[in-house]
C-alpha cells in the first residue's frame, strides 16, 4: 500500500487544519469528507497539483498456463 500521511493541527479553539501527504486523486476528497464527518463543517479546501496527479496505477499480471 502506498504511504499515506495526514498532518492534523488542532488550534486552541478546536479549529482543524489537515494536510494530506502522498494522497493523490479522488482519495483526497474521500479523506476530506471523512474528516468533515468526524470534526464538523468544512470551511475551505485547497487542492494542489498532487490532487491532479493520477492515483497510483496497480497492474496485475496473470499468467495462464495451458496444462495440455
Amino acid at each position: 500500500m502506498a504511504r499515506e500521511e495526514l498532518e492534523i493541527e488542532i488550534s486552541p479553539s478546536g479549529k482543524v487544519t489537515a494536510r494530506t501527504i502522498g494522497i493523490k486523486g479522488p482519495r483526497c476528497l474521500e479523506l476530506a469528507e471523512f474528516l468533515a464527518r468526524i470534526v464538523g463543517r468544512e470551511e475551505s479546501r485547497q487542492l494542489t497539483s498532487e490532487y491532479y496527479e493520477a492515483a497510483e496505477q496497480v497492474q496485475e499480471h496473470v499468467d495462464v498456463k495451458q496444462r495440455w
Binding site: 500500500m1 504511504r3 499515506e4 500521511e5 495526514l6 498532518e7 492534523i8 493541527e9 488542532i10 488550534s11 486552541p12 479553539s13 478546536g14 479549529k15 482543524v16 487544519t17 489537515a18 494536510r19 494530506t20 501527504i21 494522497i23 483526497c28 479523506l31 476530506a32 471523512f34 474528516l35 468533515a36 468526524i38 470534526v39 464538523g40 463543517r41 468544512e42 470551511e43 475551505s44 479546501r45 485547497q46 487542492l47 494542489t48 497539483s49 498532487e50 490532487y51
Partner: protein, 152 residues
C-alpha cells in the same frame, strides 16, 4: 504538494461523553469539578453572571441526559455547563467582583479548551478505528496540537 482542508468543529456528543471531556479540559485552566454543597450554592448576592451559548454543538438526548449540569470552580469563579432548550451546550459563568466582559473572556477560554479536547479525542478515536498510526504528536507554545498519522 498536498491538499489542505480547514474544518470548524461541531461538538456532537451525549452527556456522559461531555462530562468526561469537560472534566479533562477545564483542569488545564485550573478549574476543578465542584460537588455536593459547592455545586448547589448559586445565585448568591453580588454575583455577576454571563451566559455563553456554544452554537456549534449538539448534546444528544439519551438516558440521564436531560437536566444534567456540570459545575466547575476556580477561586470563587463558577462555570455551569448545561444543555439548553435547543439541545446545544451552554456555559453560565458566575463570579463576585468580575465584570461581564471578564466572565465572558474566561468562559470563552473554557469553551475553547472543551472544544479542542473534544476534537482531539474524536480524531484520535477515529484514526485508531481506521488503523492509522500516530507517528508524532506535539503541543506548540500557543497550545495548538499537531498530530501526524500514517496508514501503516
Amino acid at each position: 504538494m498536498s491538499t489542505v482542508i480547514v474544518l470548524t468543529p461541531i461538538i456532537i456528543a451525549n452527556w456522559p461523553a461531555i462530562t468526561a471531556i469537560v472534566g479533562a479540559a477545564v483542569g488545564t485552566l485550573g478549574f476543578s469539578t465542584a460537588q455536593g454543597i459547592e455545586a448547589e450554592r448559586s445565585q448568591a448576592s453580588g454575583m455577576t453572571r454571563e451566559e455563553i451559548e456554544i452554537d456549534n454543538s449538539e448534546i444528544l438526548e439519551n438516558a440521564g441526559g436531560r437536566g444534567e449540569t456540570i459545575v466547575v470552580e476556580r477561586e470563587g469563579l463558577k462555570a455551569v455547563f448545561s444543555r439548553d432548550g435547543r439541545g446545544a451546550l451552554r456555559v453560565c459563568m458566575e463570579g463576585k467582583g468580575h465584570s461581564k466582559a471578564e466572565l465572558r473572556k474566561i468562559g470563552q477560554e473554557l469553551v475553547d479548551r472543551v472544544t479542542q479536547q473534544y476534537v482531539y479525542h474524536r480524531v484520535m478515536t477515529e484514526m485508531k478505528q481506521r488503523n492509522m498510526h500516530v507517528v508524532s504528536e506535539e503541543v506548540a507554545e500557543d497550545r495548538t496540537v499537531k498530530i501526524r498519522v500514517r496508514n501503516w
